[in-house]
């Protein structure tokens, strides 16, 4: 499988995420679209790491191709931390405005 099909798949998922962020006004769905974009990037990183694993530089150093997958692992860690804080912000938005329309996010400032 050539790398450009993986690039095409990741770009499609990323663009779907962008369209979702732009069209939806439900804060939770917007947040989920951000997660989808993160996952598209993760998929591309793993594909590139496996493209790299076939090269001669990777064969000389056995852990050379694993770095991208460690990077994806850390992206997942940061995403988990980000989701917990973001969802608590959305809960606070709902508690203050009884709606999760992103247009009401400006009411959180005082």
């Amino acid at each position: 499988m050539d790398i450009k099909y993986y690039i095409a798949l990741s770009l499609t998922l990323f663009s779907i995420g962008i369209v979702g962020v732009l069209t939806r006004r439900n804060a939770i769905v917007v947040f989920m679209c951000v997660e989808l974009m993160l996952n598209a990037v993760n998929l591309l990183l793993v594909a590139f790491s496996n493209m790299h694993a076939a090269s001669t530089a990777a064969k000389a150093l056995p852990t050379f191709a694993s770095d991208a997958q460690i990077f994806v692992f850390f992206i997942m860690i940061v995403a988990a931390a980000e989701v917990s804080v973001g969802l608590s912000i959305i809960v606070m938005l709902y508690r203050n405005t009884h709606s999760i329309d992103v247009n009401f996010l400006n009411r959180l400032k005082n």
């Binding site: 499609t12 663009s15 939770i28 679209c33 496996n50 694993a53 852990t63 694993s66 997958q69 804080v85």
Partner: protein, 166 residues
């Protein structure tokens, strides 16, 4: 062997893209979350095809398991459904779809005409095995690994501080 991998790639890609489109078009937030779980399972299937077994399992446990349950929990807590969905602006929707589609078109046309591409090694190599990744994680990347635990602690404290009633 190659034809099976190609067919699985096409099936998983169609599953991921179709579920993603269903996710952004479905009215109810609960349906969106369930479709996003399908997308995550498809991406985990891609990881297995790429022989990144550790990331496939972590993706299912962390994303499809923990994060999506958290989303579902919040949606259930707020008692959201299709009726509480904010009204959409038709013109904004049109503009957003056009701009997102043009971005996709430009990027795709740039990358699909690439001259020197390389094949991705599928179902081979040991870069994604738990043994290899564990060795790298606990020797070269042990400091970021420890710092991420502090990050989790601060995220936990932050979520409690933001979420508590004044």
């Amino acid at each position: 062997m190659g034809i099976i991998l190609t067919i699985s790639f096409i099936l998983l890609s169609l599953m991921a893209v179709g579920s993603a489109i269903m996710m952004i078009t479905s009215k109810s937030p609960v349906n969106s979350i369930l479709w996003l779980i399908v997308v995550f399972f498809a991406i985990s299937g891609h990881y297995i095809l790429l022989n990144a077994q550790f990331l496939a399992i972590v993706n299912i446990i962390v994303y499809a398991g923990a994060i999506m349950v958290l989303f579902l929990f919040v949606v259930m807590l707020m008692n959201l459904n299709a009726e509480s969905e904010p009204a959409k602006n038709r013109r904004m929707l049109f503009i957003a779809v056009i701009s997102g589609g043009s971005l996709l078109l430009v990027l795709l046309s740039a990358f699909m005409t690439m001259k020197n591409t390389h094949p991705v090694m599928m179902a081979g190599g040991n870069a994604g095995l738990i043994k290899t990744l564990g060795k790298v994680l606990f020797t070269d990347y042990v400091l970021p690994f420890e710092i991420s635990s502090v990050l989790f602690l601060s995220a936990m404290v932050g979520a409690v501080v933001i979420g508590k009633k004044e």
